[in-house]
Amino acid sequence: MGVLRDRAAFRLAGPLLFVLLLAAVSLLLQREKDHRHQQLRKESARYAAMVAATPIERVKDNRARFYETGFYLDYPQTVSYQVADFLVRLHGMMPPLQLFHFQVDTGLHGFHFELSVAAAAAGPGDADQRFLAFFERLRACPELTQLSWSAKAPTALENRMIVFSISGQSEWQ
């Protein structure tokens, strides 16, 4: 009887040990997980305390708001002055061309404009030359970007005037 019991116990011991081994590995992994969770909680608390003690983002937000408020307060006057000033300067650099149409769309960072100018075509290539000289003067304005002009518009006006279209972008100064 005793021999039979020993043999049965021996047969059971193998699987049992194996299961215990697997469970031990699971336990170790679980302990490591708990440890890392705890580590993460500690570090999170330390970081939160550090951010609360030195609120960099909040101060930066306040400063950004200060500058944005300044921008907002000045914005209407900046827009109207720069659009009007650009119109005045256009008048100044226009002769011998004629400004026909001027259009502006404003935005937070600047304004987009489109204008049509007419040049008298006294001889062949004359209008082109005059227009290109004007376009060079326009390009010299430091606040203007993305300037482009379209080829002669299809409409040739009376008195041998040729219309050119220009579009571009101006940044708030």
């Binding site: 570090e43 550090m50 930066k60 109207s80 005045v88 001027f102």
Partner: protein, 283 residues
């Protein structure tokens, strides 16, 4: 007699392997995956802490003086906005001022178009100055005017919403933003008017300007917008955006400007600049 039974052996081996696989799939693999995630989170947090500590060492924090500048800045913002009871009251302030400025710029004709709400088409307002023969030209311009006006009336997201959140102090005070159309015709100082139209209490922002300098005389239409605080219900009230949502950020959050204390002189009085030489548009 003890004989080797291969069938039984393989059965046992399969059982062991099945058990091992079950443990590996159901417990170890998820655990190892989570360990990896936790390690990454911890490293990220550690990096953030170190970055924050390094930043804090170089950052200039606010003192009482700077806090007071912020307070003044908010107060100034609130003072700047007009406070009215009704939309009509706002128009009652804005339009006479515009008529006066049109007169000062010696512009012959002026119409003002307003709309009762963002969904209606704008109509001519009785406030005007000798409006005469702009009608036929305006009829051709109307579709374009309406298209720009509708865009202005339903400007979402409203670019100043984040900045102006919190300016409504009273319980029933709301922030409103309303566009209006100014139509000008005839000789006069158009550029001068364009420059000065924002100088009034209403602080009108020019959204769109359309100017034609063809015969018989210069003609222009503009869409302007003003913000005000209103005590009653209004269709022009700006919808509240979630705080923390910013559109069209004007300041780069990483700008070195934000690392130093602000210069209070930047909140100077609003500068009204005269044009160097406003040309007379009469030709």
């Amino acid at each position: 007699m003890n004989t080797w039974k291969p069938g039984k052996f393989f059965l046992k081996l399969a059982a062991f392997l099945a058990l091992l696989t079950a443990f590996a799939i159901l417990d170890w693999y998820p655990a190892v995956k989570e360990l990896g995630r936790l390690r990454r989170q911890y490293n990220d947090l550690l990096r953030s802490s170190n970055d924050h500590a390094a930043m804090a060492a170089r950052f200039v924090f606010s003192d009482a003086e700077e806090q007071s500048v912020f307070f003044q800045c908010d107060a100034r913002l609130r003072q700047t906005l007009l406070r009215v009871e009704t939309d009509a009251a706002w128009l009652g302030i804005v339009l006479p001022e515009l008529v006066r400025r049109v007169g000062a710029a010696r512009i012959d004709q002026a119409y003002f178009w307003v709309s009762p709400d963002p969904d209606s088409d704008p109509e001519e307002h009785p406030a005007r100055r000798e409006a005469t023969d702009l009608d036929s030209w305006l009829a051709g311009q109307r579709p374009e005017i309406l298209s720009h006006f509708r865009r202005a009336a339903k400007s979402t997201p409203f670019p100043w919403r984040f900045l102006l959140s919190g300016v409504e102090h009273e319980k029933n005070e709301n922030l409103a933003s309303r566009p209006l159309i100014i139509v000008l015709g005839g000789d006069g100082l158009l550029a001068d008017f364009i420059n000065r139209c924002s100088w009034s209490e209403a602080r009108l922002e020019i959204l769109h300007l359309h100017l034609e300098l063809t015969d018989p005389f210069p003609r222009a239409w503009m869409i302007c917008r003003g913000q005000y605080l209103i005590g009653n219900r209004s269709p022009w009230v700006v919808a509240n955006e979630k705080r923390g949502v910013r559109y069209n950020l004007l300041i780069d959050p990483d700008s070195p400007l934000l690392w130093q204390k602000v210069d209070p002189s930047r909140l100077k009085r609003i500068e009204r600049r005269e044009l160097a030489r406003p040309p007379d548009s009469s030709r």
